[in-house]
């Protein structure tokens, strides 16, 4: 039942298989997208719990939080924000090319995205190791001399919990995108009717980006 359509760059992309329980391809893609949206909503709610913790403790320890927030490296944070936003752009471009069936460009764009993701993690690694060094650590591990206010260790508990959870999402996103990249590379089967996989992967990546856009001002700026 697989027919094919020709695409912009002349290659022939197979039409995706329609699972037997769906009425049409359109419905099938709609279902996939709706499922992904719901899943992303649950991810946001997961982080929302941490935002609540942040809000409560910030309210309880205003000075300690202001001081701790200033101890973070704003330059590194800003660079990371720019890196991540740019990677969201390339992820979106990957979808664009997938729609046109330009599978090679899909590979290129995802590779760029992954590269920036690695960059993000490397910078994060430097930030973390600095903290391990000076002792701005969560809870009972805190031994930083610079800030001796009550509540400062709590700031770093929230900092580490939220950035670690976000980092985990970065890694999951990278795995998802890698799958799409390998598909585009090996099978070259993305095209006008079949780009859901790239689209979902990139939606996930936008979420990772979005969460960071909340975390950055919360932790570094305010």
């Amino acid at each position: 039942m697989q027919s094919s359509v020709s695409t912009a760059d002349g290659t022939v992309a197979p039409v995706p298989r329609l699972a037997m329980h769906f009425a049409s391809l359109e419905v099938q893609n709609h279902a996939a997208r709706l499922g992904m949206w719901l899943f992303l909503a649950t991810e946001i709610l997961l982080f929302a719990g941490l935002f609540v913790c942040y809000g409560v403790y910030r309210f309880l320890f205003p000075e300690a939080w202001a001081a701790s927030s200033r101890s973070l490296d704003l330059t590194m944070g800003t660079v990371n924000t720019i890196v991540l936003i740019t990677s969201s752009l390339t992820a979106a471009l990957a979808v664009h090319y997938a729609k046109e069936g330009k599978n090679k460009m899909v590979v290129v764009q995802i590779a760029l995205t992954l590269l920036m993701a690695v960059g993000f993690l490397v910078i994060k690694y430097f930030e973390y190791s600095h903290k391990f060094h000076v002792g701005t650590l969560p809870g009972r591990f805190y031994f930083y001399e610079g800030i001796q206010l009550p509540g400062a260790p709590m700031y770093f508990t929230v900092y580490f919990c939220s950035t670690a959870l976000h980092g985990l999402h970065v890694i999951i996103g990278m795995i998802v995108l890698t799958f799409a990249m390998v598909r585009a590379w090996r099978k070259a089967d993305f095209g006008p009717n079949n780009y859901t996989m790239v689209e979902l992967g990139s939606m996930y990546w936008h979420l990772v980006d979005l969460v960071w856009i909340f975390l950055f001002p919360m932790l570094y700026l305010v």
Partner: protein, 556 residues
């Protein structure tokens, strides 16, 4: 009355034509172990969930009986205090996370939802199978932790005790986290299925009420579960590494833990009870032989409960030091849940009124259900009143209340669903007399177990206590006696249903002459639910009232 045919998708048809002449039912279509373990058929997945859910119910039940035996005498009876703490924790955990939450959605939701929507499967069949294995993985991890060291926090994991206790917190909490993931996946699957897979003719307001209830439940699952997921991870991390998030000694706030915990766990109560309401709407229409009274009100009130359920969590913290104003506010919001539930209750009663009641086993459970819901709900309203809750808080009154409303209502619905849909699922009938006898035993036993607990709680006996003063003994013995009766009822059900499974008469397509959509196909249904193309359903669900319409012909 076969469903009139209609648009078949061009893509779907060929795959289907392979076995055109013989349409084996889903039970015999593939008999290898592998064909079960790797199936993507929602009906088989539903059955596998049924197996596990019943097994965990047995485990939780045995531990319930151990609790009751221990409480027979004021002092130590059969175990020491630490074992007792672990016993009630295991009982609560297993019952809540492994039985009540998945029971109706994962078993009957999985089985019936696609049938009721005229769909060949749920939207994501493989994800559906995955959710079963996630559930099992989480269950195994949690149980492994419970048996290797055990947990003594109670199923509520209250901080800061849970962040300090030396019993095995991490695997159990992480197991619960994994189970939550399964719950989210199931919820997403059902929501998407409801949105995208309705057969032509099924508009939103032609969906059976069970579908509405499952849909509302799924919304709660998707919105509430991530929050507890995060909370469980934080407590685990804190217990392992001492991060101090909820530890007052490090500036943390245990009340924040309670807020986050009840933000999930209060809606979780409706994850358990809304599907029960859905089952009952089906049963009451089928056995009163009347269209449901106030269909839209019943449908909307499910969404209403799901919505206000998110704003009532503070009633668990009336004595946590929150301000009187906040307490009062949460009290009022709690009452709102009562209003939506009352809408349902009145509509069910309105449905029975002047109906041609056919008093079969599922209807017997409906009667028990109505009693438990009303009684449990009324005590809930009472507990939602701050001034009354203060003395009752953390006494057996609360234990009795939540058993009445959650356990009572849900068990009644679970058993009603099992008896109502048994012929659909297995194509066989059970012995009606035994059904009614055991229903009577269970309803009686349940009352005998928990009414004494209301009394003993009202007299001041706290929950989760291992020893108690002499004067509470009579009521405790009564409660244990009731629990034995209850257990006896379950044994009888297990016996005649097993017998029916093996030797029961063939039920025919629609033994209840029900108008529910799921009865339009064969019993048991063929693998892809229908023979031929996707059906259309021109009528409304529960359409019993039009005298011009003929009765369903091939009833037994």
């Amino acid at each position: 009355m076969t469903p009139s045919s209609s648009i078949a998708s061009p893509g779907a048809a060929p795959a289907h034509d392979e076995h055109h002449d013989h349409h084996p039912n889903y039970l015999v279509d593939g008999t290898t172990i592998k064909s079960w373990l790797l199936t993507v058929d929602h009906k088989r997945i539903g059955l596998m969930f049924l197996f596990w859910v019943l097994l965990f119910f047995l485990v939780g039940g045995i531990f319930a009986l151990l609790i009751r035996v221990e409480l027979l005498t004021p002092g130590p009876t059969i175990m020491d205090a630490m074992t007792y703490n672990r016993t009630f924790t295991l009982h609560g955990l297993v019952m809540i996370f492994l039985f009540m939450i998945p029971a109706i959605p994962a078993v009957f939701g999985n089985f019936m939802l696609p049938l009721m929507l005229g769909a060949k499967d749920v939207a994501f069949p493989r994800l559906n199978l995955l959710s079963l294995y996630i559930y099992l993985a989480g269950a195994m991890l949690a149980l492994w932790g419970m048996l290797n060291g055990g947990l003594d926090t109670g199923w509520t994991f209250y901080a800061p005790y849970s962040t300090h206790t030396t019993t095995t917190v991490a695997p159990v909490l992480f197991g619960a986290f994994i189970i939550g993931f399964s719950s989210i996946v199931t919820g997403i699957n059902f929501i998407v299925t409801t949105h995208t897979m309705r057969a032509p003719g099924i508009t939103w307001f032609k969906m059976p009420l069970f579908v509405w209830a499952i849909y509302a439940t799924s919304c709660i699952q998707v919105l509430a579960t991530p929050v507890i997921g995060l909370l469980l991870v934080l407590v685990t991390v804190e217990n392992l590494f001492g991060f101090g998030m909820f530890d007052p000694a490090r500036g943390g706030d245990p009340v924040l833990f309670q807020h986050l915990f009840w933000f999930y766990s209060h809606p979780a109560v409706y994850i358990m009870v809304l599907p029960a309401f859905g089952v009952m709407s089906e049963v009451v229409a089928a056995f009163s032989r009347k269209n449901i009274f106030g269909y839209r009100a019943v449908a909307y009130s499910s969404l209403g409960i799901a919505f206000v359920g998110f704003f009532a969590w503070g009633h668990h913290m009336f004595v946590s030091g929150q301000s009187t104003f906040v307490g009062g506010l949460f009290g009022v919001l709690t009452m709102l849940v009562g209003v939506f539930t009352a809408i349902k209750v009145f509509n069910w009663v309105g449905t029975v009124y002047k109906g041609a009641v056919d008093f079969k086993t599922p209807f017997a459970y409906f009667c028990g259900f109505l009693f438990f819901t009303v009684f449990g709900g009324m005590t809930g309203i009472a507990l939602g009143t701050v001034s009354l809750d203060v003395p009752w808080h953390d006494t057996y009154f609360v234990v009795a209340h939540f058993h009445f409303i959650m356990v009572g209502a849900t068990i009644m619905a679970f058993l009603a669903a099992l008896h109502y849909w048994f012929p659909k699922m297995f194509g066989r009938t059970y012995h009606e007399g035994w059904g009614l006898v055991s229903a009577a035993l269970i309803i009686l036993g349940f009352n005998a177990t928990f009414i004494p607990q209301f009394l003993v709680g009202n007299n001041g006996m706290p929950r989760r206590y291992y020893e108690y003063p002499e004067r509470f003994q009579a009521l405790n013995v009564a409660s244990t006696a009731g629990a034995s009766l209850l257990a006896f009822g379950f044994v009888i059900i297990a016996m005649y249903l097993t017998y029916a499974l093996l030797y029961g008469r063939a039920s025919g397509k629609n033994p209840w002459r029900s108008k529910g959509y799921e009865w339009l196909t064969e019993s048991p249904p063929p693998t892809h639910n229908f023979v031929g193309p996707q059906p259309t359903y021109p009528e409304e669900p529960h359409f019993y009232v039009d005298p011009k319409k003929a009765e369903v012909p091939d009833a037994v």
